[in-house]
Amino acid sequence: MPKQNLTLASLLLGALLLLLAGCETWMKGGAVYSESKGAFSIRAPDGWMYATSFGHDFIASKDGLILQQIWIAHRELKDALPNSKRVLKDSLQPYEVAEAIVDDLRADHALLNLEIKENVPAVVGGKPGFKISYNFRTGEKLRLSETAYGCIAGGKLWLLRYRAPSRYYFERDAATFEATAKSFQFGKS
């Protein structure tokens, strides 16, 4: 390849990488974030950064996504259980939805040594829902802990989750997550 072409290709590649990196805009927490269509609002934790991309409605982290993340995602009921053939229905009680989600987690072979720590009723954004806490190990032997609040609202499954390495980070930021979860409210849309 001629030298000029190589230089041009390198520049284009660099520009593309910069462009891709710039697509994800991170904002400082410490204020209430309202979803653009008014689906929900949540107080982004102070001292954290948050974004509304990466396939989630909202995602926040303090030290980087590997060390901790809080995220909100909604799924259509027919696609709500990625590891199960079961389809959720609007009419299900929170217990049944939580049961289906725990079943789905157990069917997920990426979650090694899954251990359900807690599965209790909870109020999520003012609606009856559930709270599930569990630990698992990744294929890379990283032990992670996760808590998921969830409910069915507007014909969709809403999940508000917190994940961090079990050692040190999960406990450290658990209270922040609980405060953030409490601030979550569904909007009018």
Partner: protein, 384 residues
């Protein structure tokens, strides 16, 4: 400059190519080739990952039985210090796979659908032929040769080599090439016939898989990958049967021996299938367990759970019947009362639901789902 680059590429390519014409070992203690050693090191890591995943069933009796079937097939020797060891993975999908070091994993989903030991021997014979014929190494070299230039140019970075190692092992799980799968079919078939099993059970095993693939609406079962197609394989086995000498005795089927160890497999597979939302598979496993042991409370519970969770048409009626029968036969089986309470609550029979929930909590005062049950008891007290 161009000539130099072309020469470098040629050297890189030629230095990276290795023969895929690997012969099966014929003597115990045969050493591993250098790249085979690397593959095995990677296999050891993968095996450790699988064994520590929490998905390996803790059933020494079932493993011992499977090991006996393997030993009875008299497989050829493995290179290095390899030896055959079977393990069961709690997974309702149809699969079995062997690692190059002789470790064979069989899914509960596959075991639950086989009828007898002869069918199991066909499956295990196929898998151990992959190991004795060093299909992992052949696949690894084939992949490596296809990417030899890239591998050679990136040597030292570790990236692509690690990826290839993963692919080499991945084929053991997801299926090898058509030729290697056919070789394993023929090798496994010869072993099962030599061991005195009824050869007609080999195509029968594949017919079961074909039926299951149609039922679950998947193109092909996971088992043995997607090459060749199951119809072709059944025809291929029938061809092997046709070539057997006439007048030979029909051979052993071994239904009783197989079913003797099957109960924990069926119970666990029913639960795993239920987790995966495969209600039909869950019910099939649980009903089969009940046929073997009519008094098995776990299987009876799983059938009731299928009806409650599926909740279509008359399912809640069936669930109620099943939970009640279970509670009558096993009055201390706490989960029967929880299921009964949940189903009765859905039907609007609050007093009966409350009674069932109270009984559940009396039997399980520290139940993990106590908070939910207490909320249901509150609902039962509400008039509306």
């Amino acid at each position: 400059m161009r000539r130099l680059a072309a020469l470098a590429a040629l050297l890189a390519w030629s230095s990276g190519c290795e023969t895929t014409n690997v012969a099966p070992v014929t003597q115990t203690g045969a050493t591993l080739d250098a790249d085979e050693q690397r593959l095995w090191a990677r296999v050891a890591e993968e095996r450790e990952r699988i064994d520590q995943s929490g998905f390996v069933a803790p059933w020494p009796e079932v493993e011992a039985y499977l090991d006996r079937v393997v030993a009875g097939l008299h497989p050829g020797p493995l290179p290095g210090a390899g030896h055959f060891k079977t393990k069961v993975l709690i997974d309702p999908t149809l699969n079995a796979f062997s690692l190059p070091d002789g470790t064979i994993y069989v899914h509960t989903g596959l075991l639950a659908r086989l009828d007898n030991e002869a069918q199991l021997a066909a499956v295990l014979g196929h898998e151990l032929t992959h190991a004795t014929h060093r299909h992992g190494l052949r696949n690894y070299r084939n992949l490596k040769n296809q990417s030899a230039l890239f591998v050679t140019l990136t040597v030292g970075t570790g990236g692509i080599a690690g990826l290839l190692g993963m692919f080499g092992i991945d084929a053991a799980i997801n299926g090898y090439s058509q030729d290697l799968e056919r070789e394993a079919d023929a090798g496994g078939f010869a072993l099962m016939v030599a061991a005195g099993y009824d050869p007609r059970e080999a195509p029968n095993a594949f017919r079961k898989l074909l039926e299951e693939s149609k039922r679950s609406k998947i193109k092909q079962p996971y088992f043995f990958g997607s090459h060749p197609k199951l119809d072709d394989r059944i025809a291929s086995y029938n061809g092997l049967i046709a070539r057997l000498p006439t007048g030979r005795p029909p051979g052993r089927i071994g239904t009783v021996e197989f079913e003797t160890v099957l109960l924990p497999v069926l119970d666990t597979n029913a639960e795993a299938a239920l987790h995966a939302g495969d209600f039909d598979a869950a019910r099939d496993s649980a009903e089969r367990a009940l046929k073997l042991h009519a008094d098995d409370p776990n299987a009876a519970f799983q059938v009731a759970e299928v009806f409650r969770k599926r909740a279509e048409k008359d399912d809640l009626d069936h669930a109620l019947t099943r939970y009640r029968d279970l509670a009558t036969a096993h009055p201390d089986f706490a989960e029967a009362y929880r299921g009964l309470g949940l189903t009765l609550l859905k039907r609007g029979d609050k007093p009966a639901a409350a009674a069932a929930f109270h009984r559940y909590l009396a039997l399980r005062p520290n139940a993990d789902d106590r908070a939910y049950i207490e909320s249901f008891l509150q609902q039962c007290q509400n008039k509306t």
